[in-house]
């Protein structure tokens, strides 16, 4: 089965408008592999029929489910490791130097998927506390998808998920077994506030941040959306703030609002001189 050009164009337009994800024609196969199961689950006879319903009736629920099915949620605990080392060894010392030791830290995971990233950050802070550092932190974790946010809030992970990137000592300390799955302890869960936020829409009500994780999401956006999103993140970042991006992402050539930190892969510092163009 192949999707017609009309259907592809419709899906590509809706997805880009709603999430920023750019679907190029070579990704047409995704429509079959990812929308097929969704159509079946929702009782449609075919992907075409589901798309027709979405198009003709502008069924918001179906449209949101399509966007969700086409976005990549791949994530794991302590992904790439370096960002969490940077928090411990570079960011927090710099923040304490700028704001005073023990000053409250506000952190934002801007596309948190199923939660491994904010929980890894929370564990990083816990470990620093255990080592005697006066960490007082607030973590806000957001994503576009209600489905992943539900999983974040439940904090329930499969045996496979807890074995990707999570040291066994952390599993013992921060999780408890529930059936065949593992649940994040209440103490850790209470440290994170999960909310639905679309990065294409306003998010200034979240307030100002010292640390922003925006990893492996802008990579799917076009250049214009990337720039606008980064500059709006800069507007929510304190002058001494930091941004962490994914391994294949950079602000270079996109915006001057953040500048790469030498020798710290994926770490960018807010450019205090940068002002949002009027």
């Amino acid at each position: 089965m192949t999707i017609s050009t009309v259907d592809f164009d419709f899906v590509a337009r809706e997805v880009k408008e709603r999430s920023g994800l750019v679907l190029t024609p070579d990704k047409g196969y995704l429509l079959d592999t990812r929308l097929g199961p969704l159509a079946r689950k929702d009782g449609f006879a075919s992907v075409e029929e589901m798309l027709r319903t979405a198009r003709v009736r502008r069924d918001e629920r179906v449209l949101a489910a399509i966007v969700d099915a086409l976005s990549t949620n791949e994530t794991f605990f302590f992904r790439d490791k370096i960002p969490f080392e940077s928090v411990r060894e570079h960011i927090v010392p710099k923040l304490f130097a700028a704001k005073g030791k023990g000053a409250r830290i506000r952190a934002w995971c801007a596309a948190c998927s199923t939660g491994q990233e904010p929980y890894s950050l929370a564990m990083t802070f816990e470990e620093m506390r255990a080592a005697g550092q006066p960490i007082e932190a607030e973590i806000i974790a957001t994503d576009l998808s209600d489905r992943v946010l539900e999983k974040c809030r439940a904090g329930l992970y499969s045996q496979f998920e807890v074995q990707r990137g999570l040291p066994i000592t952390h599993l013992m300390k921060y999780f408890s077994k529930q059936g065949e799955s593992w649940r994040v302890n209440d103490r850790l869960r209470a440290q994170i506030e999960f909310r639905r936020v679309n990065l294409l829409e306003q998010f200034n009500t979240l307030g100002m941040f010292d640390i922003v994780f925006c990893r492996n999401v802008l990579i799917y956006f076009d250049a214009d959306a990337k720039k606008r999103t980064l500059e709006r993140i800069a507007a929510q970042s304190h002058p001494h703030g930091f941004l962490l991006m994914g391994g294949a992402e950079s602000t270079l050539g996109v915006t001057d609002a953040f500048q790469p930190t030498p020798d710290r892969r994926g770490l960018y510092a807010r450019n205090a001189a940068w002002r949002k163009a009027a």
Binding site: Q163, I168, M172, K177, E180
Partner: protein, 121 residues
């Protein structure tokens, strides 16, 4: 090349583990139970040991306790790899001197992640 001793009473599991670890550039030796593994280690300590729990003759936890009391027995990095997947077993293994713990079923990604965790990769 780093050496890894794969200890499991299942030939199939040893074969799967061997394939994964050889791809990660380890030189592999195999043992089918704890006693056999201990004999190997007494001759020469490997850099790493992937260790099953339930085995005939001598199980993994008994092997580990004896290994850690051998001369040079603290050298190998021991990664448990077992179907035992509750906190009690994990704690017991770590107390006995394991460095990491894999809950079966495993795949290449998990082995690689865990071996990275303990600095073997």
């Amino acid at each position: 090349m780093k050496q890894c001793l794969v200890v499991d009473d299942s030939r199939v599991i040893r074969k799967v583990a061997r394939r994964i670890l050889e791809e990660l550039a380890f030189e592999i030796d195999e043992a089918a139970d704890g006693q056999e593994a201990l004999n190997r280690c007494k001759k020469s300590m490997p850099d790493a040991i992937l260790l099953d729990w339930n085995m005939p003759v001598m199980n993994g936890i008994d092997f580990l306790r004896r290994l850690r009391n051998e001369p040079g027995g603290t050298i190998p990095i021991v990664v448990f790899c077992t179907t035992e997947n509750d906190l009690e077993h994990i704690s017991e293994a770590m107390l006995a001197g394991a460095n990491e713990y894999v809950m079966k079923p495993f795949d290449g990604d998990i082995i690689q992640a865990k071996f990275m965790e303990v600095g073997l990769l």
